[in-house]
Symmetry: C2
Subunit: 444 residues, 2 copies
């Protein structure tokens, strides 16, 4: 893609309205445009990143056997009255009257709707477990939307729901998502820590938030540092192995502020291991048994002829928020250099050819290079403008492709100035460059 043909409206300076770095970068480099308070359009650069995150989230849901569906954004109020949440939800729910004066709403979450789908579709324990998920826009009418897409009103979310008969099976489902989330965030090159959390308006008594550290985060967290050294390596999609994984993480104190207990913290965590800081919530999982299935009459036939209400959990990942969370984790705002993880980068590599009015040879080299990249499934952006070199580099540093190639006057023959962002420049052949990028892409 030539930068002159792209739709990447870059601003010269940081927009003054943006208070945190993800909001700054996203406006600065034209990833998003605000269209109303807390409502954004995603321009090509932001869209590309979000779609790649969505695809990783999807793949990791599919791996644990979850099936994808798609529920609508507009819901009837009736099912919310059945569950009892219609009045409870408060002003964050965007309530709508249609032309027939029926009470509708823009879904802030989907427990009711998915329970309604399940109860009309599944009649027997033989069809369990069922894990259903969808990736859909949600709306929460925040009184003070802020920080760009981090706390906005219309946001893109993956929410999954599990249906089982016994508590034991339901916890097996819960733990599958626990594993899936660790794997998802790892593929996004984020260290997300599961923390015991409050269940809030979703309900239930078991819940984990997945949080990444960031000074601009809105969640206060209290942990034992050693939890950051853990990972899910070696865990299998089996009951016992998943239980072990949960145990491994839960041996370390790790809670959000609603769950914080000072005495317990100081007793369980030695002073050197204590970490009190802030983080961004990127995922949240809940187990709430029959909180929705019971009032909504969602039961299945058991062996032997009895019936019972299904036991449910719900599992969210903020897909649009993750775009911002990755920037908070990866953007060097002082030097104005972004480096996207290769798994979600809008472009894998940027080519910066030095172009004079009378000399297009560097651009021609870039074009040739690009056709090799295309063959190898490597996405490339080329600055084909005749701006000066330093402003070209600045722009590409904001766009954040993890690799750069500079084609200057000195570039001769088959060796190019190649740089991974944050590392030293090397002189490599095109074949070597392609090999490096393909290897990195294969890992993710």
């Amino acid at each position: 893609m030539y930068i002159s043909k792209s739709f990447i409206p870059i601003l010269k300076n940081n927009p003054s309205e943006a208070k945190i770095k993800s909001h700054q970068l996203m406006l600065r480099v034209g990833m998003i445009k605000q269209s109303a308070a807390g409502i954004y359009s995603w321009l090509p650069l932001g869209f590309k990143v979000m779609k790649k995150i969505e695809q990783i989230v999807r793949e990791e849901q599919n791996k644990i056997g979850a099936q994808e569906i798609l529920m609508p954004t507009i819901q009837s109020s009736e099912i919310w009255k059945e569950s009892g949440r219609y009045e409870d939800y408060g002003e964050e729910m965007l309530r709508i009257k249609d032309r027939q004066d029926r009470e509708m709403l823009y879904g802030p979450t989907n427990e009711e709707l998915v329970t309604d789908i399940f109860r009309s579709s599944i009649k027997s324990y033989k069809s369990l477990p069922q894990l259903l998920y969808h990736i859909q826009w949600k709306f929460r009418d925040e009184i003070r939307p802020r920080f760009g897409i981090m706390r906005c009103r219309e946001f893109y979310m993956k929410d999954a729901y599990s249906f089982d008969i016994t508590d034991e099976d339901a916890l097996f489902s819960y733990n599958k998502f626990f594993l899936s989330y660790l794997k998802t965030f790892k593929r996004l090159d984020l260290t997300a820590i599961p923390m015991a959390a409050d269940t809030g308006p979703i309900g239930g008594n078991l819940s984990h938030e997945f949080i990444i550290l960031a000074e601009t985060g809105e969640s206060k967290i209290f942990t034992d540092k050693r939890i950051f050294d853990l990972d899910s390596e070696g865990t299998k999609l089996e009951k016992d192995s998943l239980k072990e994984l949960r145990k491994k993480y839960e041996q370390f104190y790790s809670v959000t502020d609603e769950k914080f207990n000072k005495t317990e913290f100081e007793k369980k965590v030695s002073e050197t291991n204590r970490l009190i800081t802030k983080g961004i919530e990127v995922g949240h999982i809940f187990y709430f048994g029959d909180k929705y299935s019971k009032p909504m009459g969602c039961s299945v036939d058991l062996p032997g002829g009895k019936k019972d209400f299904v036991k449910m959990g719900s599992y969210g990942i903020g897909v649009s928020r993750l775009v911002g969370a990755i920037i908070e984790a990866k953007y060097d705002e002082k030097n104005e250099v972004m480096k996207w993880p290769i798994s979600v980068a809008p472009y894998d590599i940027a080519i910066i050819p030095m172009i004079n009015k009378n000399d297009n040879s560097a651009l021609e080299k870039a074009d040739k290079m690009n056709s090799e990249f295309v063959k190898n499934n490597i996405e490339c952006i080329i600055d084909d403008t005749d701006e000066n070199f330093s402003s070209k580099v600045k722009k590409m540093n904001l766009i954040g492709a993890p690799y750069q190639i500079i084609i200057g006057k000195k570039t001769e023959g088959d060796v190019f100035e190649f740089k991974e962002i944050g590392k030293e420049t090397k002189n490599l052949s095109l074949a070597e460059i392609i090999k490096i990028i393909k290897e990195q892409k294969a890992i993710n």
Copy 2:
């Protein structure tokens, strides 16, 4: 995928509320579930088909150089007041007040919003042309939603917008979409005919509807039969080649009823070539010049220092509606047999093993076969239940995988009963079966 683990709630009989065959099949085989009047959830089977259609639409947009963005569903009323459409649009627009009492709406289309994005991003003619598209949910508050997802309220649509300076360039953009649409529908195995059409609330003076023939369609059409023999083979993405394509189609009379003129029809079309029938609109393209850019002050700098308003067109494809349109075209309701085009089939092949309580050997064969299919990227659904054979076949005929394999008692060795829906059964080896399916997938 085992049918026992899938979320495909199949009904024994046709639902009485469904009047047309796409609505019948989609409810019958659990592709969708209604959640409110004219609002549907997409269950796994329907979702898979819709996603594949979406991906084909996307690829054909990308091929003509359109860039993907994503605009929100909820819009501010302000931009609609700028264009003058806020009052005009009538009750089909779902109007919403947020908690701050601001006037919002659920976008029925996006001319205003994309014009707003463009005017704040692009300043110079040098960045033109620009083709932007998004695939997003829309809402039109139909007074009488009917026919399932064919005329519903919340629907999934691809809408694209073009921005140019001269009429000539703008028509070049228009013609790119004209070609792209022909190619898109061809990949969906549909014969969609472009017909001169009214511009309605979008405005402008040039417009084509793309219509597929169907007795249940809501558009009345008048054409010269010979237009059905045309295709876009050989057309290049160049000004003159695209003009030729338009000419080729426009030599034949072909209009919807708003544009119908009896005298002209009878003069231009010989009696044997006249076709008066009904069809389903699956795409609609418009050229409307500066209808939005002028009132919204969307201009760019021209060479020489002057400014001018950009010339725009818009281009829609009903992605969710296409699921129904394909069923209308392909479903044999009398025999209750669906055959999805391989390009969008929820599964490429169905395996029906005969299973007795004491004999799992057929299922084991199916499993082995499936692992070969997985390696070859062929999606397979297996009926692993112990229902009787004829009810299994019935079910698979509704699900509509274009190929079936039956593993019975007589199946021995490496040769299997293989059938393409609507054709004779053949005895083939697994390698031969894989070859046939891979070839068909490669074409599409």
